[in-house]
């Protein structure tokens, strides 16, 4: 395939430099959007220059973290990657990552590592022709934007049907919505959790896809790990969880410190110390391991890469603010929020909470989902809760009906102002504080505190 002209690359690059200097954001996707205007197949052209091809990762939850874990493993393997690490995961973001990697008109780097928005996955896969496609989970999320889950799963099925035989498809065996998508491909690689000691006693309210996609019968679960992920079978024998070749066989969690996991692979077991908390991050680590296995990376690189994992932008990121540590944890849909709540509810000491619920397009304009998340887990564990964001009052009402004493609830829509007040109060009470923003509230907060020098800038890594 022909390359992209140096002139077009240069124009798009200079726009990127200007938008970053202006400090107004948009630098992670604007240059790529412009490049795509100048050359509509720029993603295909530039990614074809990558000698090892590309890995495409999609999921409702955990794609940024999974890509970052895999990036850490690839770093240990000394494979230079082109990675949309800032999380801009639609066409503009992918094109920007490729553009940023060009030098003298040529893409520098061996392998593309792209996390991709669910609704954009089919288009990006068609353009990048990845060597590895990792689909990690599908949960109820922003139905106003993505539509119904079944529709998305059907479109992914069609996408997989059009892939060349050599593409390695990596699927979550524990997700009944995804596991069936690999049935026709002999080289499908499955990952999952076989240690059931952290399983939920019953599926949570938000669990989706509890029904067989073929006959409609309710699936029988031997264990529910989180959401609708687990060990399941159709009672009519239509379908059962495939045996994962990459499996977490032993999981020991250590609260907010992280987990120890043993991951079995066809090449033998790998012991890992994962420094990020929660069972959801165990899933992310096993998914990254499966992709690394598909890329023939070594066990040493995998365990070393996972152990060196750092929290990514707003995903259990700890900030020091005025000598006080604040853990930032993105919430965006019921299953993701449940896993964050489950992780912090395990803390033995009391804590304060700041929750920001925005309803902008990137958050999903429909805030109904807060009634599906089990905020009841917080009752009796939390000191003071500040509710912020464009729909702060509705968040507060949700918490009141989750059994939180109304006297503990503070409502203030302004993100930065409410955050400062919440931190000041928690410093006074000497309690840790968890900050749970939706996506655009996270961006707003992160920008505000980076300006004051309390956190590394969003652009720190570019």
């Amino acid at each position: 395939m022909e390359s992209v002209s140096k002139l077009k690359l240069g124009v798009a690059k200079s726009v990127g430099a200007a938008s970053r200097l202006s400090g107004r954001g948009g630098g992670t996707s604007l240059p790529g959007k412009l490049l795509l205007r100048l050359q509509d197949d720029a993603i295909a052209r530039l990614s074809s220059e990558l000698p090892r091809g590309a890995v495409v990762i999609s999921a409702t939850n955990g794609k940024t973290t999974t890509a970052s874990l895999l990036a850490s493993v690839l770093g240990r393997s000394r494979i230079p990657v082109v990675h949309n690490r800032a999380g801009a995961n639609m066409a503009g973001g992918i094109a920007t990552a490729l553009l940023d990697a060009t030098k003298h008109g040529q893409v520098q780097g061996q392998l593309g590592l792209f996390e991709v928005d669910e609704a954009w996955t089919a288009r990006i896969v068609e353009q990048t022709q990845p060597s590895v496609l990792l689909l990690a989970n599908l949960f109820r999320d922003q139905l106003d934007r993505y539509g119904e889950l079944e529709t998305l799963a059907d479109s992914w099925q069609q996408m997989i049907a059009q892939l060349p035989a050599e593409t390695r498809v990596v699927l979550n065996a524990d997700d009944p919505l995804l596991a069936g998508l690999g049935a026709d491909r002999p080289n499908t690689l499955y990952f999952g959790l076989t240690d059931t000691s952290h399983a939920e006693p019953v599926p949570r309210h938000a669990a989706d896809s509890k029904f067989c996609r073929r006959c409609g019968a309710p699936l029988e679960y031997e264990a529910v790990q989180l959401g609708h992920l687990g060990i399941y079978r159709c009672p009519n024998g239509d379908f059962a969880r495939p045996t994962p070749q990459i499996a977490a066989t032993k999981i020991t969690t250590h609260g907010m410190e992280g987990s120890e996991i043993t991951i079995s692979t066809p090449d033998g077991p790998i012991d890992c110390e994962l420094p990020i908390p929660g069972l959801y991050n165990v899933y992310n680590a096993v998914a990254a391991t499966a992709a690394a296995h598909a890329l023939d990376l070594t066990a040493g690189a995998i365990s070393g890469g996972l152990a060196a994992a750092r929290a990514v932008f707003g995903r259990v990121e700890t900030l020091e603010i005025g000598g006080h540590s604040v853990a930032l944890m993105l919430i965006k849909n019921p299953t993701g929020a449940n896993e964050v709540l489950r992780t912090i509810a395990e803390e033995s000491a009391p804590f304060d909470l700041w929750i920001a619920l925005n309803d902008k397009i990137a958050d999903g304009r429909d805030v109904s989902w807060i009634w599906d998340a089990d905020f009841e887990m917080l009752a009796g564990k939390v000191g003071q809760i500040t509710c912020s964001g464009t729909r702060a009052e509705e968040m507060a009402l949700r918490l009141a009906y989750a059994g939180i004493d109304r006297k503990r609830l503070i409502v203030e829509r302004a993100v930065e102002k409410s955050f400062d007040a919440a931190v000041a109060d928690s410093v006074r009470a000497a309690t840790p504080i968890f900050a749970l923003p939706t996506y655009t509230a996270l961006l707003e907060l992160r920008t505000a505190i980076a300006k004051r020098g309390d956190a590394p800038s969003y652009w720190g890594s570019t």
Binding site: L143, L149, H205, G216, D366, V367, D372, E393, A396, L397
Partner: protein, 254 residues
Amino acid sequence: MNDSPTLRICALYPSRMNIYADRGNMLLLQHRCEARGIGFELTASEAGEHVDPDAHDLFYIGGGQDSDQIQIAGDMLETKQAALAEAAEGGKVILAVCGGYQLLGEYYELADQKVEGLGIVDLRTVREPGERLIGNVMIEFEVDGSPRVLAGFENHGGRTYLESGCPPLGRVLKGHGNNGKDGFEGVHVNNVFGTYLHGPLLPKNAWFADHLTRLALGGDIELEPLDDDLEDLAHESAIRAAGGGSGLMRLTQR
């Protein structure tokens, strides 16, 4: 209804028809009953289970994906249609939301099939070409002679048309409503309520939860006032999201 009444709710197909967090409605009704010393009983009726129209005061059916609706529609006709028709006739409260609302009518016509509905209200739903109708929505109707506002969120591919003589629930102030054309939203016949305001509409409109509770308990019961500061703020927040002004907010103050 004298001393210690109980609100007896039957939730239809809650394991399937729950996609937009319909559980919020049950939570709201339950907590408000408990705060007032009213008993609360929630029964689920899933596929294959018959319903006793006299054993419940309020029937609820929520939203589901098209595939869920198709799965339950046949069972609903077989095991629940007669009981629900009798309940509707007898003045029981039925609240049907989103996908559940579509199933109240004669049929829901999709591209490749026609799903037969309960036929207890005179409406039809058709999946027409074009975008789904998505967004914040606000409707107005009169309750006991005073105008009231319901605010919420709608997300539906089907367009619903009421037969002449079949009254809507309200008039659309903001958003799309039944079909994005005639300015009507929902249906309201006797004590049967259908609406596209999906999922947790009662948390956004606590007054409507109380209205339904009153109707379900016989209509002449006085409900003890609660500390509703947060409920009122949440209602105003939903109105604001739909683009409603402060005048409407004043209108909704009790």
